[in-house]
């Protein structure tokens, strides 16, 4: 018999209560895994999207919600003339409810621009020109909408034929409906409006050159911003909100977990006052009693964390299979996130056990024996 045996026996003494506490911790940790995994996945997918397209700098409006507010397309030629700019392309992006899918990315891309270049045709064809009223679908978007080449997709009031299905190698592309910028502007009534200018800089540009370019763009577009592609996600207001929400929800779940463990361990200590008295009477040191209580609570956290990670992964899998969400999110269940979540659960357990452990160490052996 080891101290671990004593700890496990303590937890198994009240299996239902231990089980319910485990469920509480598990749900909290599942929330951490699912929310942070989704937020992180979103961050990575945007990064991957920009990387695939070879975008170095992104110009957008400061204001806006999930997507930046649209601005006048006349800015694009002015940006294109700046030193170190090799190529620019304008994009109008919208989030719209398309048929059964609650939210879907609709991406209007300047015809002939480099953003078309990374799309691999799976079936059908690309639009013939920038004026053709037709769309191509990312492969996940096609699955979600259950569309194939020859079907139509309704955007605003217009039925647009699906002429091709593509693999964009990033979830943003694969979950999007793509069409010519000009056509999207016409269909949505946003003539002359865009909300992104994607910029490629000349290959010889250094980091300092790119930073200088961003400053120059800000000078000609004071209400906007120019960001190095790698910073787009971290400075995105929508992503900041999503990240804040995911962590604040996780924090709440963690607080609930701490209180749950504390309640359980306090009950355990109260119920086992007599046993603790016996342990003190036979010579156990007070620190060993505290250590035992902390080990019990940490073990609760560990198992709660492991179950929670499994539940979180399951939840994400369910979300991935959910129509509408599937095309937007690519969850990131990295080993780091999973290990961090389990570590959080253990810390939650230990914190929850501190006060009960302290209480148990304060017991008088004689009074505890009489309990």
């Amino acid at each position: 018999m080891t101290l671990f045996t004593v700890v496990v026996r303590g937890l198994l003494r009240r299996p239902v209560r231990t089980g319910l506490t485990l469920v509480g911790i598990s749900i909290g940790i599942a929330a951490v895994v699912a929310l942070v995994g989704l937020a992180s996945g979103y961050e990575k997918s945007i990064g991957k999207h920009l990387d695939m397209m070879g975008v170095d700098v992104v110009v957008s409006n400061i204001r806006g919600g999930f997507l930046p507010k649209a601005f006048d397309a006349s800015l694009q030629p002015r940006v294109a003339k700046l030193p170190r700019v090799a190529e620019t392309t304008a994009v109008l992006m919208e989030m719209q409810s398309i048929e059964d899918a609650p939210m879907m990315m609709v991406s209007g891309r300047e015809w002939g621009g480099f953003t078309w270049g990374n799309l691999n045709l799976i079936s059908g064809r690309m639009p013939r020109d920038g004026k053709e009223h037709a769309v191509i679908l990312g492969r996940m978007a096609a699955e979600v909408l259950r569309k194939k080449v020859g079907d139509t997709v309704q955007i605003e009031a217009e039925e647009l034929p699906v002429v091709g299905i593509v693999d964009g190698r990033a979830v943003i592309e694969n979950g999007a409906i793509m069409l010519s910028l000009q056509v999207l502007q016409e269909v949505t009534g946003n003539q002359g409006k865009i909300n992104f200018i994607d910029v490629r800089v000349s290959t010889s540009s250094s980091k300092e050159d790119v930073s200088r370019l961003c400053e120059q763009i800000k000078e000609i577009f004071p209400e906007g911003r120019a960001m190095v592609a790698s910073e787009v996600v971290s400075t995105s207001q929508g992503f900041r909100i999503a990240r804040a929400m995911s962590w604040s929800t996780s924090l709440l779940a963690i607080i609930v977990g701490v209180l749950g463990v504390m309640n359980t361990m306090l009950m355990t200590v109260f119920e086992r006052t007599h046993e603790i008295g016996i342990l003190l009477a036979v010579g156990w040191k007070r620190w060993r009693i505290v250590y035992m209580v902390l080990c019990e609570s940490a073990l609760l956290g560990l198992f709660g964390g492991l179950v929670g990670v499994a539940l979180g992964a399951l939840g994400i899998w369910v979300l991935e299979e959910t129509t509408g969400i599937r095309s937007l999110l690519e969850p990131d269940l990295s080993p780091k996130l999973l290990v961090t979540s389990v570590a959080i659960a253990v810390v939650v357990g230990v914190i929850g056990g501190v006060y009960p452990g302290w209480r148990s160490s304060r017991l008088s052996p004689n009074l505890a024996l009489q309990a």
Binding site: M1, I278, L280, V282, G283, R288
Partner: protein, 241 residues
């Protein structure tokens, strides 16, 4: 003051001078000034009616509680001022209680190992020692049983084995036969006497049963928180001649 019986020939193990203990801010007085010396190897029974303070005295000797006033020493060292009371309870003292105080979710052999966590024995050594102790008191067939599966006498035997786990020099027994039928009580007393004879440790046994007290070599009587008599038992005195 009652003159202490001079039975033990060894060093003084316990000494109390004007030992007092009260509870609830002085409302309840358990000990009103106890003077007592207990020597190495003595078998002392403390007898008296319920509420006379004998269990309180035992708790103070075992450092389960602290006195309110007076002096209380173990081999010359003040027990209330011990720097590490847990080590004192673990290494020097073995407790036997009326209600056995076994841990209900642990088996017999595990209960006996519990005090050994404070020692330096390995896991295997702890188990080996516990099994050895249980064999020596005839419980080798009960090793894997829970306390709830044992008779009262068997439970007390387990408690006795546990009290011996760390090889203490003193055993403190609080009404060890109080919850047992007469047959089991007789067997437990025989075991206690046998252990005392074989191991020579100091034994302090609290009881309200005169017949049990008479089995000890020295009987200290208490009433209302004071020692009223301290005498050598007749059979012991006879045996000594």
């Amino acid at each position: 003051m009652v003159e202490p019986a001079q039975i033990g020939s060894g060093d003084v193990v316990f000494e109390t001078v004007e030992l007092k203990k009260h509870f609830d801010g002085g409302k309840v007085v358990a000990l009103r000034g106890v003077d007592l010396q207990i020597r190495q190897g003595e078998f002392v029974s403390v007898i008296g009616p319920s509420g006379c303070g004998k269990s309180t005295l035992l708790a103070l000797l075992g450092c389960l509680d602290k006195p309110s006033e007076g002096t209380l020493t173990y081999r010359g060292q003040s027990i209330p001022d011990l720097p590490d009371p847990a080590s004192y309870r673990s290494r020097e003292i073995g407790f036997i209680f009326q209600s056995f105080h076994l841990l209900p979710t642990f088996t017999v052999v595990e209960n006996v190992q519990i005090p050994m966590f404070e020692g330096k024995l390995s896991r295997a050594q702890r188990k080996e020692r516990a099994v050895g102790l249980l064999k020596s008191i005839g419980l080798e067939h009960r090793l894997g049983h829970l306390p709830s599966e044992l008779s009262g006498g068997e439970r007390q035997r387990v408690a006795i084995a546990r009290s011996l786990a760390n090889g203490p020099s003193v055993l403190l027994a609080d009404e060890p036969t109080g919850n047992l039928d007469s047959n089991s009580a007789q067997q437990i007393m025989e075991l206690i006497l046998q252990l005392h004879a074989e191991m020579g440790m100091t034994f302090v046994l609290v009881t309200h049963d005169l017949a049990i007290a008479e089995r000890a070599y020295r009987t200290v009587s208490m009433r209302d928180g004071r020692v009223t008599s301290d005498r050598v038992s007749n059979h012991t005195a006879t045996a000594a001649h």
